[in-house]
Symmetry: C2
Subunit: 548 residues, 2 copies
């Protein structure tokens, strides 16, 4: 501190002029300014913001009464229901850390996470009781288990000590504290799906959650009181921070347990949904839904997509349905989306297809993203903005995680050189937009030439008979690796491997053409990410040009 | 630090995951993501965001070359032109503190400020050369003076060493740094107009400017790329932080040197202005403008008003013209607006007049305002939300200033009890909305009864023949104080003092009826605040019921 500086004399932080940044303040404001606005709709159940605040306080109070506090992990095996939403506020309000579990993981993976996170309390939805029973059998140091007994879900079992409603009823009625000690304090813990090896625990803090919640809102040009449909799982990077964003703009959440086309279109019509998020696979489902489902929508709908690079065909398909698409990009390590393909004024003059090509790129910094670059991972020097030179995407700033839990080595490695290493390979276009060419581990190196699996996939996606496609490297004696395409066709369509290869020949350089084609459904994670490591294993087992 | 806490082990801040909050990052992002969008329009001159970034960098670089840096004050006696806008970025980019001067102050007041702020460099627009010449004569320790030689302003003199364009031409062409050392660092210094005594220097910091810039955007439901007309002086609380907000949403600023009805309506039509701010006096000017000026506007316009409690009649008048009005409230000490009269859903069913009554209240916390209360200034206990009990408005959180420059005693007093003492007296309504009844020093105490001058004014404003009204206390032997009304009539209207008093008798309790009425223009500051201390002096000099 420079004491000659008149601006640093008797001008210190105090209770009146400084507050820690936390998304909990958004909940408190919505409850106080808009107490009677609907916060969440689940079947015939509706809560207002004052009720959601109250229920979150009760959850926090009940957790504190059982000794849960700062530094403790509370895990949620939850569906997209009010309980999981409330957990995003109630758990950190108690000072604890919310660990929302990927409900599609198997018992072994869940047990690993609970043990690694040192989970004290586990809340579980009936739907996942089979998994959780198996988890509890594996674990020696079992957490306290509380059931979420959703009246709208038939099936499953109650496996815990008591249910959620009984649990929060133990909380103090006048609990209203939402103070935190430090904005750098952890708010949540999200395990990356980890295509190989043990999952890593990504730690978010209050400051980052607050800022990303706002960045989301600005990024999507969202005004107050949106109606948001939960097609995206809340367990996925805390639903890309949307529970907190919705509290910031006092929006209404419409719950959705299972992502089915009919349920989505019904909710859109019934509740006048204005916004929803989803991986490209979800959008693809909607595009290919029965036309009768799409009738009767006469309001504006905005869709945010991420989680995998959306083929231009998917973006065009949504726009043709009249849905505005925002394409964003990010990783669990960056609180979800931190990069957006912000449309430029002149793009509106383009055809839908041409615009979709531009929108399929990952893009530029989201409003509150501090820094972004595509650089050589060795020298850390930015690559030229020529649309050709490959580099790795690096981010830095407030929308980057604290680090990986109990994993200092990997944390240090991913922050090497003062930037977060995304592992995604991209080019930087002349207009400043980044475009991912591949995950570093997904690139196919054939005869010394790099092949972007995404490039081959986007060609396949454009074929009118192809529903989905994924391309991976297959080991080859001569070339080292060759591209292998996994393809699923649209309902009732027929297409041979030879036809696909002939089609690719017109669109791609010879070395990029798939040497193998496998038909059938494509292995994906619950969040719609293609599981390329599984496909790679399969690819090595099949012969060349496998027909249907 | 609790070393048992797994969330505090090897999860520290580093270059990759932490950045200081500063609105300078908004400029850098707009320039990099939307380089060719128009940032500012001034007459026939247009700059893009990349040009504004470049010019701000040149300004910063030129300042640094002359030795200006952290802790130094740079003062601007500027109009609403590109130079003053650029100063909001270039000055803090050099690490220095921007002191935007109220151009209507007299030489003595300006000299006091420059000396108190220890200003190193003073930029001055030609329009104010007479004042600045007088200032320089008074000052013994003169700053370096640079002229702003606006080609669109005829008149005035050049009084400095060189002009702005020559000055920034000295900057390095490749300067691009916008890093700051700490988000708590001072960004600007604004002197409160100070109705009595020496003005106080309110210090803003980067963190607060960043957060209030965003809060503005959210508060107004502003989406990307607004067209913003500068009716509000940029010197007034840094234009309520709008230069920084506009950088956050990559908006276009339309400059306006003088607030005249014709110029405003012309700009609205020519540039399709979507947003502007102004004190109620500005809105009143527009409402009372010639009908011919109002023709030919067919797009939506949002108006934000603050700076004085707007009478409901003014809000209704704007809404009747088809302009949406947001009523906000704040003080220089709170970065401008931090409270908003956020409309509730059910208000849209009300008549314009009824809605205007509700909108005339100060309201609730702005989106990023941490805490707000109406409380007893002695006990600091909140008053009941009954719409009747008077208390003082208190704020706390990130949107409260660092403190007053070189004034530790007043700083300490205004932060007493861990809250910022606004000095405004208000009630808290049942619905959580605050309503100012008076500045503590403007309350009229007559025979032991408190009279809100605002209440009497809002009755007067409703009279169809009255253009403006202000009510102050006049000393009275019998009652201690009595209300004295200053009234100016609409063009061509006639009204006697007796008629006004008879009208008030129907609307107000007897003790609240003005005992004196003075006709003529009302003394106001350059920002439209009625100068009640001047009126109070006048009131004591006039007899009872003075006629026109």
């Amino acid at each position: 501190m420079n004491t000659d500086n008149i601006y640093e004399q008797s001008l210190d932080q105090n209770q009146a002029n400084f507050a820690h940044l936390t998304p909990l303040s958004f909940l408190e404001r919505s409850a106080s300014v808009y107490p009677n606005r609907v916060s969440i709709i689940h079947g015939d159940t509706e809560y207002t913001w004052s009720q959601t605040y109250k229920r979150s306080c009760l959850l926090a109070s009940a957790l504190q009464k059982m000794g849960i506090g700062k530094g403790d992990t509370v895990s949620f095996m939850g569906a997209n229901t009010p309980e999981t939403f409330e957990a995003h506020f109630g758990v950190p309000m108690a000072g604890a850390v919310l660990n929302a579990l990927n409900v599609r993981l198997d018992a072994k993976a869940i047990a690993f996470i609970l043990e690694h996170a040192e989970t004290k309390v586990l809340f579980t939805d009936k739907e996942y009781s089979d998994t959780i029973k198996a988890v509890l059998e594996i674990m020696s140091n079992k957490p306290v288990v509380i059931d979420i007994d959703d009246p709208y879900f038939k099936g499953g079992e109650l496996v815990g000590e008591k249910n959620y409603e009984e649990f929060i009823a133990q909380g103090d009625d006048d609990y209203s504290c939402f103070q935190i000690e430090d904005e750098w304090q952890a708010i949540s813990l999200n395990y990356t799906s980890g295509t190989t090896g043990d999952p890593k625990g990504v730690v978010f803090h209050h400051r980052g959650a607050y800022l990303n919640a706002i960045s989301n809102v600005m990024c999507w040009n969202m005004t107050a009181h949106p109606i948001y449909l939960w097609t995206l799982p809340m367990f996925h990077c805390n639903g890309w921070c949307w529970p907190w964003s919705l509290a910031a703009v006092t929006g209404t959440s419409v719950c959705l347990r299972h992502v089915r086309d009919e349920a989505i279109f019904d909710a859109i019509k019934k509740h006048k949904v204005s916004h929803f998020c989803g991986a490209p696979v979800v959008l693809n489902t909607l595009i290919n839904a029965d036309d009768s489902l799409k009738q009767g929508i006469d309001h504006e709908i905005s869709v945010m997509t991420a989680g995998a690079a959306p083929p231009a065909a998917v973006i065009a398909g949504m726009e043709n349905m009249g849905f505005g698409v925002s394409h964003v990009y990010g990783l669990t390590e960056t609180y979800g989306p931190c990069v957006v393909c912000a449309p430029q004024e002149e793009w509106s003059d383009l055809s839908v297809d041409d615009r979709a090509e531009l929108l399929a790129r990952q893009g530029v910094r989201a409003p509150l993203q501090d820094e972004l670059m595509v650089a050589d991972p060795e020298t850390m020097l930015p690559v030229p903005k020529d649309g050709k030179t490959m580099g790795e995407i690096f981010m830095r700033g407030n929308l980057v995680m604290k680090g990986y839990l109990k994993n200092p080595k990997t944390t240090e490695a991913c922050f090497k050189g003062g930037w977060f290493h995304s592992g995604d390979l991209a080019v930087w276009h002349e207009d400043g937009y980044t475009q991912i060419k591949d995950r570093s581990k997904d690139i196919i190196i054939s005869g010394g030439e790099n092949i972007s699996s995404l490039e081959v996939e986007s060609v396949l996606f454009k074929h009118p008979k192809i529903l989905e496609a994924a391309v991976v490297a297959s080991t080859d004696e001569k070339w080292g690796e060759v591209p292998c395409a996994f393809v699923s066709l649209k309902n009732g369509q027929e297409l041979s491997a030879d036809e696909i290869i002939a089609y690719c020949r017109e669109e791609l350089a010879g070395f990029k053409i798939p040497k193998k084609v496998v038909f059938g459904p494509i292995d994906k994670t619950s969040t719609g990410k293609v599981q390329k490591y599984l496909l790679r294993e399969k690819a090595d087992k099949v012969g060349y040009v496998v027909k249907k």
